[in-house]
Amino acid sequence: MSDHNEQHHIVPVPVYIAVFLTLIAMTWVTAWVSTVDLGHLNIFVALSIAIFKASIVILFFMHVKYGTRLTKMIVLAGIYWLILLLFIVMADLWTRTWMGVPGR
């Protein structure tokens, strides 16, 4: 069984501070970018920043980087299934108009 130290890996405070400052900075970046007209890229940039922020919260604040392989797999499974739900249903919505219906 894993020993006490491995279970309770203590993340140094400077790491927390660095993550915190990054999160704050990226919040202001995402707010600023939304005022620049990038057309269809806007949502892509906004989501990319959000995904990056979420990742560092998961890895460092939630200790997943130092966790067991099983924890990492569970997190990835959750993210993957969310993407499945979103992507496949959106694919239906995006392709609704691809094929015409005779008579319409």
């Binding site: 203590i10 999160l23 704050i24 005022t35 906004a46 922020k53 997190v75 249903v89």
Partner: protein, 226 residues
């Protein structure tokens, strides 16, 4: 490992069906993450509705989104990120057995969470005053495709409302944990409830990290950082 009744020093926090503290903590962590996965899928349904309708009515969503106050949203996001930091520092203090620091950081987390909810309440009130709550008296002043604007606001209230409900539940749990911490229930060897609550709190923060750009930042190029 030979077949025997497992001999271990029976720490008072070890439940009888577990073989060791490490196994118990690992089980709790995995259990909590599985619960968070259900939360991902739960919020996921709302995110799906959001993407579906934003794709269908982009103009309505953009002008409705501009009705939200970007500064309040950004400030609130900052407040929540701060509360995540204080929560992480609370867990850190617990792991070192520093009781006073633990209680301090937990209280700070509570206060920051309270500030977030306070701002949200103000925003909701503001929406009420401007008739932006979907229903009989709904108006979206100056909105393009205003007929579909209620869908945006329904999602706004639905998603932030669900998020706020999660924060309220977190509030109640946090108060309980603060009381337990103040009474010295947690030691450097065992502080599992603090850790598990930390995971929940960070998750609620992550949901907001997505809600902020999706609800507040749709096409601000016309309005700028207003």
């Amino acid at each position: 490992m030979a077949s025997q009744i497992v001999q271990h020093e029976h720490s008072s926090t070890l439940k009888h069906h577990f073989a060791s503290d490490a196994q118990q903590l690992d089980a709790a962590t995995i259990g909590m993450w599985l619960f968070l996965v259900t939360e991902i899928m739960f919020f996921g349904g709302l995110f799906l509705a959001y993407f579906a309708y934003r794709q269908a009515y982009p103009a309505a969503f953009a002008s409705a989104s501009n009705k939200t106050n970007l500064w309040l949203g950004a400030a609130n996001t900052t407040v929540l990120i701060c509360s995540s930091l204080t929560m992480a520092l609370a867990v850190h203090a617990a792991s070192l057995g520093k009781r006073t620091l633990l209680v301090l950081f937990l209280i700070l987390t509570l206060l920051l969470g309270g500030a977030f909810l306070g701002v949200k309440a103000y925003e909701y009130h503001d929406k009420w005053v401007h008739h932006e709550i979907p229903g009989a008296h709904f108006e979206c002043e100056g909105c393009e495709d205003a007929g579909h604007a209620p869908l945006f606001f329904s999602l706004y209230f639905g998603m932030t409302g669900l998020h706020a409900t999660h924060m309220l539940v977190g509030f109640v749990l946090l108060v309980i944990i603060i009381v337990q911490a103040a009474r010295g229930k947690f030691t450097a060897k065992w502080y599992t409830p603090v850790e598990m609550f930390g995971l929940y709190w960070h998750f609620v923060d992550i949901v907001w990290i997505f809600l902020f750009p999706l609800l507040y930042l749709i096409d601000r190029s016309h309005t700028g950082l207003k």
